[in-house]
Amino acid sequence: MDKEKLEERRGFLKQFGATLGAAGLGAAGVGSAHAQAKPKGNIPDRPVKVGHITFLTGPAELLGGPGQRGHILAQEEINAQGGLLGKRKIETIFADEAAGTDANVKELRRMKLSENIGLFTGVISSGNTPALGPVAEELKLLTLFNDGCTDFLFDKAVPNPKYTFRVTNIQSADGITAAIGAATHWPKARRVASIQPDYSYGRNVFEHFVLALGKLLPGTEVVSESWPKLFSTDFTPHITKILAAKPDVLVVGLWGGDYVAFYKQALRYGLFDKMKVATTLAFGGSPQAIGKDHPDGVLAGVHANYHFLYPSAERWPINKSFVERYHKRWKEYPSFEADGAYVALYLYKQAVEKANQLLGGWPEDEAIIAMLEGAGINSPAGYLYIRADNHQGYKDAVTGLSKRLPGYDFPVWDPASIVSIPIRSITAPPNWPKPGQGHNESTAAADWIKKTWPAARSA
């Protein structure tokens, strides 16, 4: 894109302290075998049991598979170094999230009460974390969710978490990031159409995208809504309906097989020539799931979390080496789920080591929790920190325009188009009233945007 346009957009992004086409700062981090401080006290050498529930079957295996592989990679690396504190190997019990919420609850109880796991990780569906979070709390089970990112978890289901943490950005960030990306690249867009999977994620994306875009661009209006059932694959009637509405921009929250089916059908109906398309999860599944026929110039979201090409190799070696190790192990490129599951385990490792340095021996859960609250870690996705007030992980939200580049047989981001936003600029600050506390917005973020964002001055 030409120079001055670029400048103009950088200007626009300044209000979020966000950056276009660059970011990140070098640091040592996960996976790199940097010298560890020698463990203090005597450490038992029996293994640490870890539970991991994720989608191993069904359409969502597309997300769960990489998550499982990310976890296994971290586990193998840590065990190769002798295990946690050099003594305790990690043994993981996996279970299938597709068995349903009811079965997941039973399985989590089994893992703790019968298998006596010390840490629980995983979980992808935003329908399951609100069910499993409270169970983890009642079981006093240290838990690091790597997705299931609904705001509902820490807004309502577990308002005062003690044992549960989550490492991925919250759901509301998806819609807002897509909105900022869209406003950055297509400032003229006014007429908005939407197609979302018909469940809580889709509704969350729709609400926050429309809300944020309304603040960013003057006079935007929603001209068409489509809510296909999750895991359906025929979108042609929806696509036709959207074409009829003649929008400037279409926001898409479909993911996995749904998105693959959608873009292939949209392509044939010439949808991409008639409007700009902003997605929240196009590259969020496994990157290689998207074919070469995927058009350029689509705002390809990654759940506001991570794409394996960003931060770029020269700026952020941690990512480079992670991608290499992951690709070597699994013959595929890591998704944000892979990053999340991988980092969750290293976050635990780091907390355990810190606690051990302070107290010696194998630390109590309370000590590990204390180390996790406010903890920061240099993850493949950049700097990740855990907020003490709500146990929610935060890292810069990122998105970019799709482009077919040599070297990959699937589309990736046009480096110049990548938008990176400090997460604090798009989520409610600590202790912002939660839903039901003086407001009835669906999320704290929505309330915060409504109350604090400046309305777009009409150009």
């Binding site: 191993l56 079957t57 019990i93 996996f94 279970a95 299938d96 068995a99 349903g100 919420t101 009811d102 079965a103 609850v105 039973k106 399985e107 109880r109 089994r110 009460l113 019968s114 935003s126 329908g127 609100p130 069910a131 409270p134 169970v135 009642e138 079981l139 609904t150 509902f152 309502k156 289901a157 018909d198 469940y199 809580s200 509704r203």
Partner: protein, 329 residues
Amino acid sequence: MSRRAAALVAGVVIVLALVPVVLGTYQTQLLTYGLTLAIAALGFNLLLGYTGLLSFGHSAFLGTGAYTVALMMRYLGVSSLELFILGGVVSSAALAALLGVVCVRHTRIFFAILTLALSQVLWTLAYKFFWITGGTDGLRVPFSQLTLLGGLINFPGADAFARFITYYYYYVLVLFCVCTALMWLIVNSPFGKTLQAIRDNETRARFLGVRIWRYRWLAFLVSGIFTGLAGILWVPLNGLVTPDVLYWPQSGKIVFFAVLGGFRNFAGPIVGAVIFNYLEVYAVAVTQYWQITLGVILIVLVTFLPAGIVGTAERLRARLKKKRAEQFS
């Protein structure tokens, strides 16, 4: 009931009463699930086993019971389990009465598909009206907000979960015993006999002056209430209700219970439900191929053990008896 049977029942109840003491929290909560599901199976089998109607929509009642509890908690701030039971039974009875009028006019496969279709209407409602039902996020029913015996027992404090499970287990166990006794009474009552008569020979029953569909309707009603109660008792265990509980594979599971245990047999579905609960939990635990595991078990079962576990056991016992008798004579 023969003296031997009575002794057997008494023995089983005593063993069940000892579970929390002996087996600890995990096994106890697992069995609590089993017992609630067994209540659902009892209700379901009044239709399949005793009236000869295969319902593929009983998830509707399980879900109605569960959602009634969740909605009462969310919108009425109710916390007493007794009130939940009252409300849930009323609502599932109302639903059963309504669906019954529609469904019992048909039999066989048409009845099955009709119940399936109607239960799915409910599923879409729970799914689409998210501003009331929470959609796929569902509605929470934390046991910490639950009180038993009109507020006498509640679960604050540190070890709340273990305490909850212990108390709740006995609560469910009592209700389970009551339901079982009640159902045993029903199937052996003149009404129950009439149902079986209708099952065996509708025409002849009509020529005894029995108005068939009224009895089928009543059976449908009772069946719905039992399954609804199961839904009510299930939801605090799960802590959350989502549309899954209304989706048709849930109905498939309930049918699975009955066939696993044997539906031509009073105790069959009870045993089936409890065993299925373990089966599912451990299948999910030990393998990611739990679907294939359950599928194969089901196929093997219906192919080789059509009488189900209990039914087959009884046949074997009968055969042994016969052998012994022959030896002595």
